[in-house]
């Protein structure tokens, strides 16, 4: 799915970065404007500084997006994406966070290692298994046994 023509022009580093900054800036202004008092010049309210920052951020966003569209003239670098590595890393962390309170550290780490390993190149299941066992043992030894972090290892099983 190669973007073509006009779409291709938009898939560049400046335009996309500009959009992200613009989105954050506008969101910051929107939320602050609705919910936080502005105060006065003398007594700045909780909304004042965020709106200033949001404005600055949005301005930078507009400038970058404009530059991405070719103004001022500069050929912006295109971006290519490979969502798999980042997707696997994020998924593995979410799985860890989800499983630790429910099933304990050991199952959470096992899920984390297998999901994370999916994001790498040259995946070998046997290696992942060995790595998981070794690193889980390390984590239990160092973090739970030595540093005494209050992790449950399996449902209802605690070391300390």
């Amino acid at each position: 799915m190669e973007p073509t023509g006009g779409a291709q022009r938009l898939f560049n580093k400046d335009f996309l970065a500009g959009l992200i900054f613009l989105a954050f800036g506008l969101a910051a202004i929107h939320i602050a404007d609705n919910d936080y008092p502005m105060g006065t010049m003398m007594r700045m309210g909780p909304g004042n500084f965020p709106v200033m920052l949001g404005g600055i951020l949005a301005l930078f966003g507009v400038y970058l997006a404009g530059r991405g569209l070719g103004w001022p003239a500069k050929s912006p670098a295109p971006v290519t994406w490979n969502p798999r590595p980042v997707g696997c890393i994020v998924a593995s962390m979410l799985a860890f966070g989800f499983l630790v309170p429910r099933l304990g550290l050991v199952p959470a780490l096992a899920a984390m290692f297998f999901l994370a390993a999916l994001g790498g190149r040259g995946l070998r299941w046997r290696e992942v298994l060995v790595l998981t066992v070794l690193m889980t043992a390390f984590a239990v030894g160092v973090f739970v046994y030595l540093l005494k972090l209050p992790f449950q290892l399996f449902p209802g099983v605690y070391l300390v």
Partner: protein, 493 residues
């Protein structure tokens, strides 16, 4: 003046603190030397380990981790030609050539010795410049602090490598991230989206680990080019008398260059090591040797790098304004231990301040003592493939984020920040200015509000108070540096 250092050494030389310093150096080097793991990642991933300790040992261990990670980075630069960070990119040039010629041992030894020399000079400079600077800074009002922070933020965005506009936008985004949480003046929760976890703000661990460790692994996994690992044996470790003679003056000059650059906000080690290298190349009788394994090309940038890292602590500790990404990590970690660096901290908790300074030096010394004999071990670590490393780093990130408050939400946030950092890095937006903005955000707003209140809503004191004006002029100059090339390019010449 030196009684301060003496106090520091008294603190740092307790057996317990030495042990923590040693542990920090060992772990920092161990992680920092692993290929594809920059010092920032190493520090980001290891600093949650220090949470369990009381403040002084924690900060001492952190200093050890810092030096170990930095030195580990140089080792990878020399042996694998893979610079962990921009500061060691210059070391790669000649260091790797030396390694290919079978002189990896002397290159590593000279790097360690030059770093140590620079570290000693840097420590002395902190003891010399720190107190008067801190005393001067005690006179700062909110205007001066605001202007100084503005200058630091702008400088870090503009002078760092990469696009200056993107850097400034990242600073603004970081400041916004920094003010998430309960507003200290009104008690109003801001940008918390009704999440109780965000009432105290986005945790520093979440930001630092997500931005530097998670995002970097994702980027690394995507763009791995085959690397050539040095596989030969290291036969001779100690540099010959000739090597030492050749690297003596470059070390001294590199230290000078680095010390100068380190104090300036935003420039930090990266620029200094590059400047030192160029200086040596200019001064050399046979500049063609540079790039083909000149030992001066290792000694000078390594000395500059370390001197800058050390003098970077001057603005960080005395003014509370960090100059580089690593320094920002250190400040964030100090804040987590309830120490906000700045002139007040220096005056009120001298044992902490000078303890850190002294342990910096001890960390440096331990590095030499520990690393020179262990180089063989570090070399064997270089052969560990990345596909084994990165899941282990993710594990450290998860456990680090989770253990801050035993809350899975921190892990989710960390993953989210990592994904955002990855996307932004893809778009050539450097994460370091964001982190600096995040750390300084709450402080900046507080001083701004106080300044406006004290002047009854009049912003003019920013430009009428002399010190504040000087910082404002500095900010304008830095911005001019950024705008100037654009204007010049567009004018028909």
């Amino acid at each position: 003046m030196f009684e301060n250092l003496a106090l520091g050494f008294a603190v740092a030389f307790s057996l317990q603190n030495l042990a923590y310093c040693f542990a920090g150096v060992a772990m920092g080097t161990l992680i920092g030397v692993l290929p594809g793991i920059s010092p920032l990642v190493a520090i980001g991933m290891l600093f949650p380990l220090t949470f369990m300790l009381p403040p002084i040992p924690a900060l001492i261990m952190l200093a050890g981790i810092y030096y170990g990670a930095q030195y580990g980075g140089s080792t990878t630069a020399i042996l694998v030609n893979l610079p962990g960070e921009t500061a060691s990119a210059v070391t790669c040039i000649d260091g790797y050539q030396m390694a290919r010629q079978g002189r990896a041992g002397p290159a590593l030894a000279v790097a360690a010795l030059a770093s140590f020399f620079a570290g000693c000079v840097g420590t002395l400079l902190i003891a010399l410049i720190g107190p008067p600077l801190g005393e001067w800074a005690l006179k700062f009002g909110p205007w001066e602090y605001c202007a100084l922070m503005l200058m630091g933020l702008v400088a870090s965005a503009v002078l760092a490598h990469g696009d200056a506009v993107k850097g400034l936008a990242m600073v603004a985004l970081g400041l916004l991230f920094g003010i998430v949480g309960t507003d200290v003046n009104s008690g109003l929760p801001r940008y918390t989206f009704e999440l109780p976890e965000l009432v105290d703000g986005i945790g520093f661990t979440v930001i630092a680990v997500g931005l530097f460790a998670v995002a970097e692994i994702a980027s690394n996994l995507e763009s791995r080019e085959p690397r050539e690992v040095f596989t030969g044996r290291i036969e001779r470790l100690m540099p010959s008398r000739h090597d030492l003679g050749d690297s003596a003056w470059p070390t001294v000059r590199g230290t000078g260059v680095g010390a100068l650059f380190g104090v300036l906000p935003g420039t930090g080690p990266a620029l200094s090591s590059f400047a030192a290298y160029m200086l040596e190349k200019k001064l050399a009788r046979s500049p063609e040797r540079f790039g083909a394994g000149a030992i001066e090309g290792v000694a000078a940038p390594e000395a500059a790098n370390n001197a800058a890292a050390q003098t970077g602590f001057i603005p960080t500790l005395t003014l509370g304004i960090p100059g580089s990404a690593v320094m920002t990590l250190m400040v964030g970690a100090m804040m987590m231990h309830g120490l906000a660096p700045g002139p007040q901290a220096m005056a009120e908790k001298p044992e902490l301040f000078w303890g850190i300074v002294a342990s910096m030096w001890i960390g440096n010394l331990m590095l030499v003592v520990l690393n020179l004999p262990l180089i063989g071990l570090w070399v064997s670590l270089l052969k560990v493939p990345y596909r084994w490393l990165f899941p282990a780093i993710v594990m450290f990130c998860c456990i680090g984020a989770y253990s801050v408050s035993n809350n899975p939400v921190d892990v989710y946030l960390c993953a989210g920040v990592g994904a955002l950092g990855y996307v932004l890095a893809k778009l050539d937006c450097e994460p370091a200015p964001l982190l600096l903005g995040y750390v300084l955000g709450p402080l900046f707003e507080e001083h701004l509000r106080r300044a406006m209140l004290l002047a009854r809503g009049d912003p003019s004191p920013f430009f009428t108070r002399p010190i504040s004006l000087a910082f404002m002029v500095g900010t304008a100059l830095v911005l001019a540096v950024m705008v100037w090339p654009v204007l010049r390019r567009r004018s028909p010449s």
